[in-house]
């Protein structure tokens, strides 16, 4: 197998092995199957474009960081009228919390509660608890202080815990 063929095979093998974790993380971050797929496609394509460099270090960690960074970058960009060319102000997000909760059953409970976190809280929950990164690593990836990571994660856990049914009532 040629050099490029071997590198491509390596990339494909890594993506297939990481797919279940990456796809769930992308879904938790975006809250939407469609948006998760878009996010993943973009991140994986850019990773492949840089594969000769990425594969030298820790490619799994790279892709996970890239996924969260891409999501955060997308979220921040939505604050500016730039995503959709229009001469009208952007549409407001619908206040769908109540509707969303009314439609959800127990299996989606955690997904709904995660969707109710702020984008930054979700990014930190995914990095800290799903990807199992240290507070210092999370701070470095998101470009904030360790203190901010601690307080934001604590607040996110608190909000997830408050939404949990009490033990013994199930």
């Amino acid at each position: 197998m040629s050099g490029r063929g071997a590198a491509d095979a390596e990339f494909e093998q890594l993506v297939r092995a990481s797919w279940p974790t990456l796809s769930r993380a992308a879904y938790v971050l975006t809250g939407s199957t469609h948006d998760a797929e878009d996010l993943l496609q973009g991140v994986l394509a850019r990773t492949y474009a840089r594969w000769s460099r990425v594969r030298r270090d820790d490619p799994v960690a790279y892709i996970r960081r890239a996924l969260v960074n891409a999501y955060v970058d997308q979220w921040r960009r939505r604050r500016v009228i730039s995503e959709q060319p229009t001469d009208q102000p952007p549409e407001r997000p619908a206040p769908a919390e109540a509707d969303r909760l009314a439609r959800v059953d127990d299996r989606e409970d955690l997904a709904v509660r995660l969707a109710l976190l702020s984008p930054r809280e979700r990014a930190m929950v995914v990095l800290r608890y799903y990807f199992d990164r240290s507070e210092a690593e999370v701070a470095q990836v998101l470009g904030c202080s360790v203190g901010t990571v601690k307080s934001t994660c604590s607040r996110a856990l608190g909000r997830l815990r408050v939404a949990e049914p009490q033990e013994g009532k199930r």
Binding site: S23, A36, T47, Y48, R79, V80, S118, Y130, D132, R155
Partner: protein
């Protein structure tokens, strides 16, 4: 609720995504990105030898991937009178920290072309390396010690996109705290101040100051400059968020600073929406 519970819970979520990745699409798109970077480097080299190069155009593959087929007449990165490069970002940061010394920059990004995004639309994107000759958007994000975040965005819009008049979001009973004021500055710019914005339908509140102006059209095209300064804070109410956000007067002063205005590029590659394109059609 501990880490194991969260991890196990996420692993059980039905995402609706396929069980296996579509590697064909990923590799095809990745190869296009690689070719795009090589084409960008070609444009830069052409500028160094003061020649107009014809970089390799990228073709769209179906409805996926970027469309970047620059007109060879506009491929030069040398625009008379437009001194522009990476230093603009440093100047932007310096302008912010001069007014808000405690702000810590955490993100810095540019946009230098538009890519096709679905059937209807295009979205701003950036080449690697950045094509500074065509940069029309520059954004930075800052962390504040209070936990708030500050976003500074400077853009050049084709004038067809943005009306200088309709800048306020639609009032809604769901957002009673929100106010929007539009006024003219002494030098004729449009100033939009939006307070009590709730972002992403979660307890995150903020305010936006936006300054718009009609660009002089130095390259024969009408454009609009836009500088936005947005402050956002995770808080239960707008009243709480307002106490930790930088004050409106400071953010307004920042938004009005001429150092934040990007000079107009000669073209914005890839910009085409329906019958609108940049440069403007006669």
């Amino acid at each position: 609720m501990n880490a194991t519970v969260i991890k196990d819970g996420i692993d059980r979520i039905d995402t609706g995504l396929p069980d296996h990745p579509d590697l064909g699409r990923v590799l095809a798109r990745g190869r296009r990105l690689r070719r795009g970077r090589q084409a960008g480097l070609g444009v830069g080299l052409a500028a160094l030898v003061a020649a107009v190069a014809l970089p390799v155009g990228l073709l769209a593959n179906g409805d996926d991937g970027p469309v970047l087929a620059p007109d060879p007449a506009t491929a030069s990165s040398s625009v008379p009178g437009r001194e522009f490069g990476p230093g603009f970002g440093d100047a932007m940061t310096a302008t912010v920290t001069a007014l808000l010394p405690e702000a810590q920059r955490i993100a810095d990004s540019q946009r230098d072309h538009y890519e096709k995004n679905g059937a209807c639309c295009t979205t701003p994107a950036v080449n690697d390396p950045v094509d500074y000759a065509h940069v029309f958007s520059w954004s930075q994000a800052f962390d504040m010690p209070s936990g708030a975040q500050l976003f500074v965005d400077s853009m050049q819009y084709p004038a067809q996109l943005v009306s200088l008049d309709h800048q306020c979001p639609e009032a809604s009973p769901s957002y009673p705290e929100q106010t929007c004021d539009v006024s003219k500055t002494a030098d004729g710019r449009t100033l939009v101040v939006i307070l009590g914005e709730q972002f992403d339908n979660t307890p995150q509140w903020g305010l936006s100051i936006r300054v718009l102006a009609a660009a002089p059209g130095t390259h024969g095209m009408l454009a609009t400059t836009s500088v936005s300064v947005t402050g956002a804070e995770d808080a239960a109410t707008w009243a709480v968020a307002r106490e930790t956000l930088p004050d409106v007067d400071t953010l307004t002063q920042l938004a009005l600073d001429p150092n934040l205005v990007i000079p107009e590029p000669e073209t914005i590659p890839g910009f085409k929406v329906g019958n609108l394109s940049y440069p403007a059609l006669p």
